[in-house]
């Protein structure tokens, strides 16, 4: 029984069947990649996992509890954090404040009217935030405005914001999209480091095969809304069905 169990999930947008009958099981503490050509339904599947979309059929269980019908903040509080395709951070706030927000969300829950307590008085939260920023090598940028960071640093910051909540499952939506090769490699190293330091399950949706094969322990290939194959990376590499999905059928 995996930490995330997706059973028979289907989603239709008007006349388009975006997801057919998706079954997926992600084992605890594994790195699981979901790949597939454009329009395969990767993002739709991800949005069904985080509460942005509600599937028409099927069930999604996380840690034995259903996530269907829950709002994004409730799903986050269950232990699922999400990294977006383009880093979603609080641009107007400083790097340290960016990380303090998930710290407070983890400690105080979805809402707390702590209007008369001072942030500067909460040294335990600050220590925690500064520690995670050191972990992602951003300790000298704590006072900067997040909007003025480089793209790679924004990605690091977003990771730090997710990790400081100690999620059980980290969902990564094309974490290296639009990055130069050097930045991509840095991100791969960062993710490897994170994985080696703590118990965490990662689900990566990715286009870039280099990233997928550097990180994933298991790979699911999605095509036209249904899983084509699921296996370890070595087996996926030469799989004829996968090549067919990516390159098109050789014979009509």
């Amino acid at each position: 029984m995996g930490i995330l169990e997706v059973k028979g999930v289907g989603k239709r947008f008007g006349g388009l069947q975006a997801l057919g009958n998706v079954n997926l099981s992600i084992a605890e503490n594994s790195v699981h990649a979901i790949i597939g050509p454009n329009g395969a339904g990767k993002s739709t599947l991800l949005n069904c996992l985080v509460g942005k979309l509600i599937p028409d059929t099927g069930s999604v269980m996380f840690n034995g509890q259903s996530v269907l019908g829950r709002k994004p903040h409730e799903i986050n509080q269950m232990g699922i954090s999400r990294v977006f395709q383009t880093p979603e951070i609080f641009g107007d706030l400083t790097v340290l404040e960016n990380v303090l927000i998930p710290c407070f969300a983890k400690r105080d829950g979805a809402f707390e009217l702590n209007a008369l307590t001072s942030i500067s008085g909460q040294s335990d939260m600050r220590d925690k935030a500064e520690q995670i920023l050191t972990d992602v090598n951003m300790q000298d940028k704590t006072g900067m405005h997040a909007a003025s960071l480089s793209r790679g640093d924004k990605r690091r910051l977003e990771m730090a914001m997710c990790l400081v909540q100690e999620p059980k499952l980290l969902l990564l939506d094309e974490p290296t999209a639009g990055m130069a090769r050097a930045d991509t490699n840095n991100t791969i190293d960062l993710l490897k480091e994170i994985k080696s330091k703590r118990d965490i399950t990662m689900a990566i949706i990715e286009h870039d095969m280099h990233v997928v094969f550097s990180l994933a322990e298991r790979i699911t290939v999605l095509a036209q809304g249904t899983p084509l194959v699921e296996d370890i990376p070595e087996k996926i590499k030469g799989h004829p069905k996968v090549q067919e999905a990516y390159l098109g059928q050789a014979h009509g």
Binding site: K71, E88, E97, I101, H145
Partner: protein, 401 residues
């Protein structure tokens, strides 16, 4: 001090000093001088400075922190005034229960309007709040006449019960609002020093006390985790949702707190002059607080107070300058030229003060998007020594968005 850091304590002390010494600061010109018309140190205007300061500080807690632009905040000001006058009619002329009641009723009213309006954001939220405020305004004029006394406005009469106070004074007139028995809101002490006349008014100092309290609470909110969440709402609501925060209760709490500030301001207005009219809720009044906040600097602590003072000063002082005074000013010019200059300048003064105000507002929004506070910071940087200027610039300037 009081749970504030050094910088905030200094700011609070400065505001406290300004508030306490306002009767001196606002009366810089001797009574007999030609410049005495620029004096703003009379009780009526000073009261308005601080009361609208409270209103704007509260509005800024919503707009400055969360970015939700409410275009109906005057409704809460009006509700506060009506509530206070009703207490004067039913209970007695002491202002404290009236002010407390204003805050509670405005808070409840804000809870209702906020609960519905906050289902939308951006322009739709603004339109919803505007619609509610205009609805309240029109209802106060028509169907709610039993509560609001329609067009005449809610006033005190000799037949009001006033169960805890006196119905009428010994000489048969309506009693006046007071803080303690014998300490009336309108009481003033005058001090004559050389050519200067300074007035210290009970009502002003009560309002100033509430301004300081309101300002102190606003600083605490700005520096709290709650305030951080509100700023995060403005910055990126999607990320906040995916960080496990339910944004709706945060924005609703900010809306209600902001409504309570407006209610306090409304209650204070009624305490100074116990009548309440529907025009206090009109959309122009809602627009005024938006302008005050933006003019002073939205999202800054001191900005809304500066903005409120600035607008109320110009509204009252500029509007009093008529053509005769202008002729006096330009009397050094030859007659023909003098007439010409006065004709050119006159539309900007007197009844045309809103033209000058509008031009000034445009200039500030275009050249100083951060409002008067940004202007102050830029001037401060000019006077700072070179090496320090570099550090200050990197830490203090806020991004243009």
């Amino acid at each position: 001090m009081f749970g504030l850091d050094k910088k905030d304590t200094t700011l609070l002390l400065v505001v406290t000093l300004l508030a306490l010494l306002a009767p001196f600061i606002l009366n810089p010109f001797p009574e007999a001088s030609a410049l005495a018309q620029f004096n703003a140190g009379y009780p009526d205007l000073m009261q308005r400075f601080v009361i609208y300061g409270i209103f704007a500080v509260g509005f800024n807690l919503l707009f400055g922190l969360t970015g939700y632009l409410s275009f109906g905040h005057a409704a809460f000001l009006g509700v506060g005034s009506y509530s206070a006058v009703w207490i004067f009619k039913l209970l007695g002329m002491n202002v404290l229960p009236a002010i407390a009641f204003s805050i509670v009723i405005s808070g409840l009213f804000a809870l209702l309007i906020g609960y519905i309006s906050l289902r939308r954001s951006g322009i739709y939220f603004s339109i919803l709040t505007l619609a509610f405020a205009q609805m309240s305004f029109n209802m106060a004029y028509s169907v709610l006449t039993p509560i609001t006394n329609g067009e005449t406005g809610l006033q005190l009469t000799l037949s009001d019960p006033r169960i805890l106070g006196q119905q009428a004074t010994a000489d048969g007139s309506i009693p006046v609002t007071n803080l303690l028995p014998g300490l009336e809101m309108r009481q003033s002490v005058q001090l004559e020093l050389g050519g200067w006349l300074f007035t210290f008014n009970t009502g002003y100092y009560l309002a100033a006390f509430f301004l300081l309290l309101a300002f102190y609470i606003a600083i605490r909110i700005f520096r709290s985790p709650f305030g951080l969440m509100l700023r995060a709402v403005k910055s990126n609501q999607q990320r906040l949702n995916y960080t496990g925060i339910h944004t709706r209760p945060y924005t609703l709490a900010a809306f209600v707190i902001s409504g309570m500030y407006a209610g306090l301001a409304g209650g204070l207005l009624a305490s100074m002059d116990p009548l309440a009219g529907a025009e206090r809720m009109q959309w122009t009044a809602s627009g005024e607080v938006v302008i005050m906040t933006i003019l002073g600097g939205a999202g800054t602590l001191i900005g809304p107070i500066l903005g409120a003072g600035f607008i109320k000063y110009f509204e009252n002082i500029f509007s009093k300058i008529n053509e005769n005074i202008l002729h006096d000013w330009f009397s050094f010019l030859p007659q023909g030229l003098q007439d010409f200059v006065v004709t050119i300048v006159a539309p900007f003064f007197g009844e045309g003060w809103s033209l000058s105000m509008g031009l000034m507002f445009m200039a500030i929004v275009i050249f100083l998007p951060g409002g008067l506070v940004e202007g102050g910071q830029r001037i401060g940087q000019l006077f700072r020594r070179k090496p320090a200027a570099g550090d200050a610039a990197s830490s203090q300037t806020t991004p243009a968005e």
